[in-house]
Symmetry: C2
Subunit: 338 residues, 2 copies
Amino acid sequence: MTLDLSETSHRRFNPLTGEWVLISPHRMKRPWQGKRESTPATGLPAHDPDCYLCAGNLRANGAKNPDYRHTFVFDNDFAALSADAPGERVEDGLIRAEGESGVCRVLCFSPRHDLTLAMMEISDIERVVDAWVEETINLGGRPDIGAVQIFENRGEIMGCSNPHPHGQIWATKNLPNEMEKETHRQAQYLLDHGRPLLLDYLAQELRLGERIVSENAHFVTLAPFWAIWPFETMILPRRRIGGFDEFSPEEKTALAAALSDLTRRYDRLFDVSFPYSMGFHQKPTDGAVHAEWQMHAHFYPPLLRSATVKKFMVGFEMLGSPQRDLTPEQAAARLREV
Amino acid sequence: MTLDLSETSHRRFNPLTGEWVLISPHRMKRPWQGKRESTPATGLPAHDPDCYLCAGNLRANGAKNPDYRHTFVFDNDFAALSADAPGERVEDGLIRAEGESGVCRVLCFSPRHDLTLAMMEISDIERVVDAWVEETINLGGRPDIGAVQIFENRGEIMGCSNPHPHGQIWATKNLPNEMEKETHRQAQYLLDHGRPLLLDYLAQELRLGERIVSENAHFVTLAPFWAIWPFETMILPRRRIGGFDEFSPEEKTALAAALSDLTRRYDRLFDVSFPYSMGFHQKPTDGAVHAEWQMHAHFYPPLLRSATVKKFMVGFEMLGSPQRDLTPEQAAARLREV
Ligand SMILES: O=P(O)(O)O[C@H]1O[C@H](CO)[C@@H](O)[C@H](O)[C@H]1O
Ligand SMILES: O=P(O)(O)O[C@H]1O[C@H](CO)[C@@H](O)[C@H](O)[C@H]1O
């Protein structure tokens, strides 16, 4: 008997984290009698007087938003990180903690309350990319910041409490877990092979073709071989780029185009404004060169079968390993076709 | 300025996995305008003619359930693992996979459709513990099984598609990610200190007291110092027990009592049938002794503020590190008091 990756249960290795995912392709046949999600509200106003992100409105801390025309960035009024947390350590047997300082920023993508990345013009998404570049340079340049994590939670189902198009930036002193793993694994690969891991991986995927979703002159979107979420994707640059501070003007436009393309594909998949968490991993801002680092975007969308049935990452996933039904090859084919 | 773990943002180290959690105690003040969950249905019948887990009913594969009186175990009709998956490897550059064989079992806790662990008699929960012992011995004894993962997804919000009280057992050839991490870290600790990690940790927590939820003669329930979920807990045995195959009769009764106590506390917390994923980590069944291994239960409940507001593990959590607001000390105090 030979291993057929589209039919038999198997596990795949994620070289960026060193972890495995369990794949059960035959399991898509299982009927679903469980929870159904509600679909997002449509017909939102272009400006909502009660929205604390809309231009000219008041925020929780009493500040008034400017009359912004493109993007608008400010410090989160309920930040998870305090800039002045002392770095001190607590260590007593198996109890180990340390102060974690940092900055939490909110970035409004547009003054329009009713848009999403999928509905915005590429030239307007470019302004968002500009803001990511600027925040990376400003925050990353601080001596007390070691990592700049840019992300967006899109949709109520992803814990987003306001439909106004916005993302966040959490900048921390220490490397978060996922950044730690990816830094370690990329550094080891560069040492062993003399080339960045994700450039080699991209070359291999371009040769194979079956997991590619779309491409432009500077970026490629694909479903990684080791994807966890049903329609998980990555956006990878074609040349080595460590972080947003290294972008050329053409690359900014190309990333905006790639984001537009992918979010539109997602929306067409189940004919719904597609929920996800997405974010960029980029080189640590600790002052070192990080030749091993290749910046990239991860998109983690929760939906599995339809606009109302999501994948639950629960029991076995929490206690054992992530598990998926649909294969990444099937997901890529569907995203290519829509 | 000194680090106050109940006030300032900090991170805590999980010695079982080697990963960190970000804690933002001040953030509980944040108002919640996002998604609210529906609460579980009440007033279920004791027997539901449409339930495929109730006694005497038909299952998806056409089999008829026996007229069981206590527990009932069978092979999952939509198993994520196939027993006959070939072990073969695929390795080509950064693409790496291998067949993963195993067994998925379903365990009905009671013929009563309308009960939960919190509502069952301790003597009936003991029958569930008996079944876990038996499954561990039977599955773990097979040469093709290296790990026996017992778990329960409780509540619609945790992807449970049938309210009939039941859990699952997924037995795999390879160690799942979390088991791999815990095995490695416990083995290293035993090597370094000559004592099992979780026995040392329990002794330390019993001395400190502030994270203990409840205790009986053989088990202690506590909110671990490094907990991720708002009301996450662990149940730890007082003596060294590697797995379910090592339980004494008194320990079975005591574990049933600890499970009853904890699930009742959870239900009282927000006055709702409390959702969670829970499961047991126990020593690998690869034939080795595993003197480092201390079996334990993890409870991962999603609720944060009330019966309808959960914690979303999304953007920063998926791309960076898990983040929590409420401290484990506050959670333990609330669970102690209810
Ligand atoms: O097997 P069930 O209960 O139908 O499915 C549930 O538990 C499984 C194991 O944690 C998960 O993989 C599924 O996403 C979840 O819906
Ligand atoms: O900051 P927000 O959007 O209110 O909150 C959301 O994103 C955060 C960062 O991923 C999470 O910690 C929260 O659980 C989620 O609800």
